[in-house]
């Protein structure tokens, strides 16, 4: 499926804003991305398997934080940094 990649992660994808990866779940998809682009997964998922606080996975119009979510019939996933409505600098 198509995976759109946020700009902070594009140093891993050769600056590609969209790549192709596979997986039956979001976790499997991220594992496959890490296989294709080593190091990418740990920047967005911690060692306990939790999506990092300021990262967001979109499946269609739905935000997804449960990495066990199935991707049946999904043809596009977006991995994006969260915009939290402010910044201290």
């Amino acid at each position: 499926m198509k995976v759109r990649i946020a700009s902070p992660l594009r140093s891993y994808t050769g600056n590609a804003s969209a790549v192709v990866a596979d997986g039956a779940t979001v976790a499997e998809l991220i594992d496959d991305l890490d296989h294709r682009f080593p190091g990418l997964a740990f920047r967005i998922v911690d060692e306990q398997g939790q999506l990092r606080q300021h990262m967001v996975v979109w499946i269609g119009q739905e935000r997804c934080r449960d990495l066990s979510t199935a991707l049946d019939g999904v043809d596009e996933v977006v991995i994006m940094q969260a915009l939290s409505g402010g910044c201290i600098g």
Partner: protein
């Protein structure tokens, strides 16, 4: 992942003059600057009079620590994260020319009993001279990690991270800890014995291992803990920075949240040498730096620890203080520093070179680097307008 640059930073053409004139050579010390928004390298001429600076590296990334491996003179490790992405380590084996991400960055084990995950790699320290390629990393939460391959792959030091007392010694869960997270820092390796280690927790205290990190014990007797209801406790202290003298490894200096201390092993009790500081200045601060050859000489940068802890210089009058007699007396060194300023110098943001006389350097939260080529007697600002400076290390 490799981030490449075309030419090494050791090439003079890669630098820009900081002041009006470019240094005629770059044979002097180099400073590795880690900031909230990237890293820079500063280079001086042999006279340490003129400085040049590189363009930013890793612009926008949070660089907690950028450290040269003094054993080979060319390997550098950089502790980094971004506002969104998780923590990692980048490494260079060519003096900063190209950078490659660690294949296995510091991380706790999956299924960790405490449920810990690394938020920040905070401190990097080369290992013993007899163990080339060995490095230690301290993190937030307060984990200890070790690499044996020059920082490419890291493993948890189980003797620390899974110590039965870790949950008592460390701040966990660290919801009440240091605003940026409780951290492990000041990882010290005894140059006589690779198995003899110290580390410090903010907060938590100083700890010692004599078996390469297999077991640990607190080393806090004599340290104040004014913020605890019972100040006479074995752990829970707040060391800000601990240094071991390379020529006299039994001598430790500590800048603590509650004073400046010295310990001469095998003593087990810290002596509060900060009591000899002027009363109106006090002995609160973040960094302490040691003369590379004289174990009796150390520099500190006092800060205001009154009221709500502004952490700026007392009365807004920045000054370095030096002792030449192991803390029995202190002298103020402020010639050339601004008469009034309101910055903070963080624990990794002060360093010394090994020249004679020794150069002393510090970086500020206001993005300035100040230098003295005469052991602190005279100061000049060598660069400004950088982001908030987190670390200044010698290269």
């Amino acid at each position: 992942m490799t981030i490449g640059t075309e030419t090494p930073w050791s090439t003079r053409a890669d630098f820009e003059a900081v002041g009006a004139e470019m240094p005629t050579d770059l044979d002097g010390p180099k400073l590795l600057i880690g900031t909230r928004k990237g890293a820079w390298i500063l280079a001086a001429d042999a006279a340490r009079e003129r400085w040049a600076v590189t363009p930013p590296m890793f612009l926008g990334q949070i660089i907690q620590h950028l450290v040269l491996d003094w054993r080979d003179g060319r390997t550098m490790l950089m502790a980094t994260k971004t506002g969104h992405l998780g923590p990692t380590v980048f490494r260079s084996t060519d003096g900063g020319c190209t950078w490659t991400e660690a294949n296995r960055p510091p991380k706790f084990r999956a299924g960790d009993a405490h449920g810990r995950s690394v938020r920040t790699v905070f401190w990097l320290a080369p290992g013993h001279a007899d163990e080339p390629g060995a490095w230690y990393a301290g993190a937030s939460p307060q984990g200890l990690f070790r690499s044996t391959d020059g920082g490419d792959t890291w493993d948890p030091v189980d003797g620390w991270n899974d110590h039965p007392n870790w949950g008592t010694w460390a701040e966990w869960p660290d919801v009440e800890g240091t605003p940026d997270g409780s951290m492990l820092h000041s990882i010290l390796v005894d140059p006589r014995d690779a198995r003899h280690l110290y580390l410090a927790l903010s907060g938590g205290g100083v700890f010692e291992s004599s078996d390469a990190g297999g077991d640990w014990r607190p080393l806090n007797a004599g340290c104040a803990a004014d913020f605890l209801p019972d100040p006479d406790v074995p752990t829970g202290h707040d060391p800000h920075c601990v240094r071991l003298h390379p020529q006299r490894p039994d001598r430790l200096y500590q800048q603590n949240h509650c004073g400046i201390y010295r310990m001469d092993r095998p003593a087990e009790r810290w002596q509060r040498i900060g009591d000899n500081m002027p009363r109106d200045v006090g002995d609160i601060g973040f960094p302490v730096e040691l003369h590379p050859r004289d174990p009796d000489t150390a520099w500190v940068f006092p800060m205001d620890g009154t009221d709500v802890w502004p952490r700026t210089s007392p009365d807004g009058r920045p000054a370095v203080y030096v002792t030449r007699d192991a803390g029995d007396s202190w002298s103020r060194l402020d010639a050339g520093l601004p008469p009034r300023a309101w910055f903070t110098v963080k624990r990794q943001a002060m360093t010394v070179d090994d020249r004679d006389p020794v150069g002393v350097y510090f970086g500020t939260t206001g993005g300035e680097v100040w230098a003295s080529a005469d052991e602190g007697a005279h100061w000049s600002r060598i660069v400004g307008h950088l982001p908030e400076i987190y670390s200044v290390e010698m290269a």
